[in-house]
């Protein structure tokens, strides 16, 4: 993966496969503690304790088209390469929480990439799923929630190209206001 937003897109696809209806993407940049944390939480079907303990193994996957699942192992590798940590907690019937912690200033910490485009594409492709995106930096925070977007749109589809374009610009401008690092 070339950037962190691609990893986020990938992990959220897991949540969607787990039939999640509410997904929270949280990015916490903490310059003072040199930490860059990505949390992804969902209310999907969750995983059993045994499955969670094996899920970072690339030869474990739920897919049936092939026997390899690299999404989680790749993110774990990239987090650990910076000296960070990767944890995954899950409970059957409740949901899953993935946490990837990177060392902020480490040269191997990938850039965030097009996070606004990623969040908007996820919303547009999955209009029935509530997506909450929360980004914190040392100079502020930004919240994006599909609930208020859908209320404002009042029946107009979130997948309309002009809406997608607008939302991407709106997120980008707000992220610029809180000075996210690239």
């Amino acid at each position: 993966m070339k950037d962190l937003s691609m990893h986020i897109m990938d992990i959220v696809q897991n949540s969607l496969s787990a039939k999640a209806t509410m997904i929270t993407i949280e990015i916490i940049e903490n310059m003072d503690e040199d930490s860059y944390v990505i949390n992804i939480k969902d209310d999907g079907i969750g995983m059993s304790r045994e499955f969670v303990s094996t899920v970072t193994d690339p030869y474990v996957t739920t897919r049936t088209t092939r026997k390899i699942g690299l999404g989680i192992p790749l993110l774990k590798q990239n987090a650990e390469r910076t000296g960070g940590q990767f944890t995954i907690d899950s409970e059957e019937g409740k949901g899953t929480k993935v946490k990837a912690e990177f060392i902020f200033m480490h040269p191997d910490r990938l850039p965030i990439g097009d996070i606004a485009g990623t969040v908007v594409l996820l919303c547009a492709a999955n209009p029935n799923v509530t997506i909450h995106y929360h980004h914190v930096t040392n100079s502020g925070e930004y919240n994006f929630d599909t609930t208020e977007i859908l209320e404002t749109l009042d029946g107009i589809s979130i997948s309309e190209p002009s809406v997608i374009k607008f939302l991407k610009e709106m997120i980008n401008e707000n992220l610029q206001m809180i000075g996210i690092s690239r």
């Binding site: 696809q13 088209t65 594409l121 999955n126 749109l153 190209p161 002009s162």
Partner: protein
């Protein structure tokens, strides 16, 4: 400094769209639209499926083709990512592999507009042609 975009601006876009909506109400049946599904599992994302999906959304709108663009999981053709499944109204789905921006452009121009097949189709079924 310019004002940051907010939900109030979104409301304006919504009102603008509502005006246009009534014109195309009768074509709102998804069966009558072109359906595009971009494979977005680890393999697809890593090879650039997101840019391809954004390209389809933007270009179909610019070229005035009504379509539904969504995401799907891995179809098992990881070697040929990004893969895209296109269903024209009333036809069987066709899966294209190695779809970059140029390929996506010719898929729109040739296949979606004119129904001409483009190189790079991945055979997903083994149906034979019945005499």
């Amino acid at each position: 400094m310019t004002q940051v975009k907010s939900l109030a601006d979104l409301r304006r876009i919504k009102e603008n769209l509502q005006g246009k909506m009534s014109l195309r109400e009768n074509s709102n049946n998804p069966e009558s639209l072109v359906q595009i599904r971009v494979a977005m599992a680890t393999c697809g994302i890593a090879s650039g499926a997101k840019q391809v999906m954004e390209f389809f959304i933007e270009e179909l709108d610019k070229r005035n083709i009504q379509a539904v663009v969504t995401q799907t999981g891995c179809m098992g053709y990881c070697f040929a990512e990004p893969t895209v499944e296109i269903t024209l109204p009333g036809q069987a789905p066709v899966v294209y592999g190695y779809v970059d921006i140029n390929k996506a452009d010719s898929i729109i121009e040739k296949y979606i507009k004119n129904g001409e097949l483009v190189d790079g189709i991945i055979p997903v079924n083994y149906e034979t042609i019945q005499k």
